[in-house]
């Protein structure tokens, strides 16, 4: 609360000068010790946070520009440190710089990076370097969006580091390739613990583990056993399990039955894409990758959208909602609430919807409308924010 007052978030006012923070350095120090490893690093200068921004490929750069403009407009006390990592000419040095920047800031907002098949396999080096073990996606039916299914509200938690994406492949005999899927007890327990914790925090009633243990008896069997063990410690939450093919069938016929779902890597990819499609498409759902000390915010489905890049037709909703989640994480909740409200209000106006929702609005029209919506909320004093 004291941080918020110091950052003086009065709309339309000038930004605070960075040196203001020095006056209250004593307070900052005490807060720094309070926020140990579980909380984001405190704002260092004048109550402003620094966040690493990775524009990526395709529609990433243009949408993240809109985010930056919106933050400037709302005087959000966040500074972006831009790091270029994309499929064209990304050397080892660039990637190392990105990694260092994220380690320094602890939080990153990123666009999607297209996989360059000529580079050695380094799928998402981020998840491995920072141990971003949980990918969380909250799919809800948004008002004003035309979909076949209504009232969907599912949180999908996907194990992000192991499973089928271990990138361990070899060709022992020409023409025969083996790919290893690794499941470990430690990671399975960790993700299950995370899932149940989140369910409890958000007041959710049921956690469903998605698996294929009837076929992969040892691998998915271990995952399921770990989930069961963790579930025993949360008697207030119902634990359920479902085979992945049945899950997809149920998702397209009765998605309302699901609450929180936890699963290994590959099934998580499939289920999160199915759910994103059910609530209206890749342009609407934000996703977060959490580690113990770091958090990376992005769109839930990792498409680069290179066909629609720079044409001003991409849907900025997912990226903007991801930035709101980032603001929540940085404890700038009031800003998050304000921006989220404006984004959802604009989304419900059908004449402004972008092409992926069947409308004819452009990205800039949507961004402009969001800013107008925020302006309509009137000037806010520091007490309100």
């Amino acid at each position: 609360m004291s941080i918020a007052a110091r950052s003086a978030p009065v709309l339309f006012s000038t930004r605070l000068q960075p040196w203001t923070g020095l006056k209250s350095s004593a307070n900052n120090v005490s807060l720094r010790f309070k926020y140990q490893s579980t909380n984001p690093p405190p704002a260092k200068y004048g109550g402003r946070h620094t966040v690493t921004l990775i524009p990526g490929d395709g529609i990433g750069p243009e949408l993240l520009n809109h985010v930056r403009e919106l933050f400037r407009f709302c005087c959000v006390p966040v500074d972006f440190e831009v790091v270029r990592v994309d499929s064209s000419a990304s050397s080892e040095d660039d990637i190392n710089n990105a990694v260092t920047a994220i380690k320094r800031n602890g939080v990153a907002l990123k666009g999607n990076i297209e996989t360059n098949h000529n580079l050695p396999p380094s799928h998402n080096p981020g998840t491995i370097c920072f141990d971003l073990y949980a990918n969380v996606m909250h799919c809800q039916s948004l008002p004003g969006v035309p979909t076949r299914h209504k009232d969907i509200d599912v949180i999908i938690i996907r194990e992000n580091t192991e499973g089928e994406y271990s990138s361990l492949e070899h060709e022992n005999v020409p023409g025969v390739v083996e790919s290893l899927k690794i499941i470990t007890r430690v990671n399975s327990l960790r993700i299950a613990e995370y899932a149940f914790n989140l369910a409890r925090e958000k007041g959710r009633r049921k956690v469903t583990a998605v698996h294929k243990a009837n076929i992969m008896k040892l691998g998915d069997g271990l995952f399921l056993q770990c989930c069961k063990e963790v579930a025993a410690g949360y008697p207030d939450i119902t634990f359920d399990k479902m085979i992945v093919d049945n899950t997809t069938m149920q998702l397209v016929s009765k998605p309302q039955q699901f609450d929180v779902m936890v699963m290994p890597n590959l099934y998580g990819n499939v289920v999160s894409n199915v759910c994103a499609g059910l609530v209206g498409g890749p342009g609407l759902v934000p996703g977060v990758n959490y580690g113990k000390d770091y958090a990376v915010f992005e769109t839930a489905t990792r498409n680069t959208g290179k066909n629609i890049a720079n044409k001003n037709i991409a849907n900025p909703t997912a990226t903007l909602l991801a930035s709101c989640l980032m603001l929540d994480h940085l404890k700038l909740r009031a800003y998050a609430k304000m921006i989220r409200k404006a984004v959802l209000k604009t989304l419900s106006e059908t004449q402004l919807q972008t092409a992926d929702l069947g409308g004819q609005g452009t990205t800039s029209e949507v961004a402009h409308s969001i800013m107008q919506e925020i302006q309509r909320g009137g000037p806010r004093t520091s007490e309100q924010i």
Binding site: I183, S253, T301
Partner: protein
């Protein structure tokens, strides 16, 4: 006098098979299965009789027996019958939990090398689902991939599961997919993969598909990532035509598509094996709670049987039976419980038989 009777018996058998041959009646192995299996098989036989389809059924049981050497196998009469007739129709089989033998479906798959699982998914008018314009076919590689069953416990708490992709199997399934597309007037084949992550394994699968596509220039070939397919499938399934993919993705996607059209109770399925063997089956469970009560829905098995007729080249009869079935469902007067009505299985069957006979 005894000799003469023997002579009459033998000549009668020869005459019968000659008669069948002349009428082009083909023999098909029928495996009724467990639970509701027998009643839906009877329903299908009745409908085929009403449609005067040139099919003769040979019923066989496939409960696993222990062969010489201690390995589980299917009974030799069943195996012989399948190898002779080449075409089979199978109802749901139950896998007893502690029987000691592997699942029956797995055993059949291994015995006849059923490498391709084909599931055409077409929206059924009269059975409302949120998706109305589905018309696609999923072709899944059924022998290797993630389901090889090769797993190891490396150290306590670390398990490794091996996904196997071979050149031979990938080429075989790709060829089948393109042949199927060509024979069924399909315009495009899409390979579903995750080669950006699993570069070598799915990369090999993709390479083989590309190579085979070169020989089938009349069919359009595209490739798509698994997650993109899932995303687009639930938003607009009309974009897809024939999908070919390895085992795990095929399992997930074929069930996803079954869900789009209304579930496993109305989805047909066929398994194609080496040496021309083909077994068509219904993929739902045995439903032991409604077994024997005349409440089952024979649609899945019936549509699989229709698929079988098409495979055998009997397109006329296939069309007749399929139209009758869809008409009955569209009319919504005589529907079984799972389709939303409260008619009995026999009433549903009788209605379809009546329609088939009226068509002649």
């Amino acid at each position: 006098f005894g000799g003469k009777t023997w002579y009459i018996k033998v000549s009668f058998t020869c005459l019968k098979s000659k008669y069948l041959e002349e009428l082009n009646i083909q023999t098909v192995t029928l495996i009724p299965g467990d639970g509701i299996g027998p009643e839906i098989s009877t329903a299908v036989m009745k409908i085929f009789e009403a449609a005067k389809a040139p099919i003769q059924w040979e019923e066989r049981n496939v409960t696993a027996i222990k062969g010489p050497g201690g390995r589980w196998m299917i009974p030799p009469e069943a195996k012989e019958s399948m190898n002779k007739n080449k075409i089979g129709l199978k109802g749901p089989l139950k896998t007893p939990i502690a029987a000691g033998h592997p699942s029956m479906n797995l055993l059949l798959r291994k015995t006849f090398d059923l490498y391709a699982n084909v599931r055409p998914c077409v929206s059924i008018e009269g059975f409302k689902t949120p998706y109305t314009d589905v018309d696609l076919v999923t072709i899944r590689e059924n022998t290797e991939g993630e389901y090889s069953g090769i797993e190891h416990l490396i150290v306590d708490g670390v398990v490794q599961s091996i996904k196997l992709i071979t050149e031979e199997a990938s080429r075989r399934i790709a060829e089948y997919a393109f042949e199927y597309a060509r024979n069924n007037q399909r315009t495009s084949v899409t390979a579903v993969h995750k080669a950006n992550i699993m570069r070598m394994s799915d990369g090999l699968f993709l390479r083989k598909c590309r190579e085979v596509a070169e020989n089938y220039k009349d069919v359009k070939f595209t490739e798509m990532y698994l997650d993109t397919v899932c995303l687009n499938m639930v938003q607009d399934p009309s974009h897809f035509d024939v999908l070919v993919m390895p085992n795990l993705y095929g399992d997930i996607l074929s069930d996803l598509c079954a869900g789009l059209i209304g579930g496993l109770g109305v989805t047909p399925s066929g398994n194609i094996g080496a040496n021309g063997v083909a077994i068509f089956e219904s993929v739902h469970g045995t439903a032991p709670d409604i077994a024997g009560k005349d409440l089952a829905n024979p649609t899945a098995l019936l549509l699989s049987a229709v698929m079988m007729l098409r495979h055998m080249g009997l397109h006329g009869h296939a069309k007749k039976i399929e139209t009758a079935c869809f008409d009955t469902i569209r009319d919504e007067k005589v529907l079984t419980k799972d389709l939303g009505g409260n008619a009995k299985c026999s009433e549903f069957t009788a209605d379809i038989c009546r329609r088939v006979q009226d068509m002649d």
